[in-house]
Amino acid sequence: MAGEMTYEQKVAEFKARIDAGDKIEGGDWMPDEYRQAALKFIEMHANSEVMGALPEGTWIPRAPTLKRKLSLTAKVQDEVGHGQILYRVAEDLGKTREQMFDDLVNGRTKFHNVFHYPADTWGDVAYIGWLIDGAALVNQKALLDASYMPYVRAMRRICPEESLHLRHGEELVLELVSGTPEQRELFQDAVNRWWQPTMHFFGPPSKKKDMLLYWGIKTRTNESLRQEFFSTYVPKLWDLGISVPDDRLAWNEEKGEWDWSEPDWDEFWKVVRGDGPMTHVRLSKRKAVWDTHAWIREVFAGIPDAA
């Protein structure tokens, strides 16, 4: 009987469920360490979606055509929508949306490293749309088999939209690389600046005992995801005559994997600790809206429950 089991026995039974491929629902019993690991991971994902809307959002007024403006607006709306969906999933793990957002805007929790960098040119918008969303999709597709079922449902909602964003980005890239020399250079310059943050995006090589992998909240190591990214996108970049700023990057037939240069991990840690080039600007934007719009949340929460 579950009620007569010790905590350790319940944890062992729970772990056996995960190892057997069973899915965990929000109302199921779960060990504290699972709940905390899942909450931290999903909260960070939600934060990243909301913060990730900002670099591209600033380009909506400057999009070169109405078509691009519409598609970029829709993409930014999608990213914020992903944040909403993910905060809802995270809330059921024991932290309110208000607390998560307050922690985010006050710098107490993290968001993905790539959203701490400036998007200076339209080439950056193309890069983000194709290769940052491409990197995110490599990660997120792996999460479709995660152990926490509410998160899997969110991924089923999010992945098709990320695939759409990828096409949007790829189309932007194709237009630039097949355009004028200046347009090609715009994209090449974006690749040169964004490559290291993209390598950072997958994180350092996973630890031997990564708790997220242990609990099935993540299903693949950082390194295997980065390798998949190389295989999917680097040949395409090379086919378009676009180089990447890593002289060592090449497929190693003997090892059956890509050789690549380790990026500057000190830079990575500096950024994820909240000291990136745009961290403070972007957080202050979100904080200003959070603070000045508090009354809207209060009005909304005060609507009498008619259900």
Binding site: I85, R88, G134, T232, K236, L240, A250, P304, A307
Partner: protein, 113 residues
């Protein structure tokens, strides 16, 4: 604020399936938020919400013909990008002829993406 489960039907004849959740003060707002957060891209032909802990299903009034919008929102969907993959192949082939491509060791079989 109450939590509402969001359910959807991908195509006519399907049973309602749990697709996510939202928080809303009442059923009217729950249906609006469910529609906007989960069916904006024409993901289904029907939607409903159920207050967590209740059995009663509240079915949304938008049918498959209007769910996801009735004006041209194709830029929100894959269909707007049909042919991008083929264009990428065409441009790559053209660049190969012009010697623009970068020839470096790569995996023998390319994966999609």
């Amino acid at each position: 604020m109450p939590v509402w489960e969001v359910l959807g039907k991908r195509k006519a004849g399907d049973e309602f399936e749990l697709v996510g959740g939202i928080k809303a003060p009442d059923v009217e707002m729950a249906l609006v938020l469910a529609r906007e957060t989960h069916f904006r891209h024409k993901e289904g032909v029907g939607y409903a919400v159920r207050r967590r802990g209740d059995h009663e299903l509240h079915v949304g009034s938008y049918g498959g013909d209007v769910l996801g919008g009735v004006t041209d929102h194709s830029y929100r969907r894959q269909e707007a990008y049909t042919g991008v993959g083929a264009r990428q192949k065409r441009i790559s082939a053209e660049f190969a002829k012009r010697g623009v491509t970068i020839d470096r060791p790569r995996p023998p079989v390319r994966t999609g993406g």
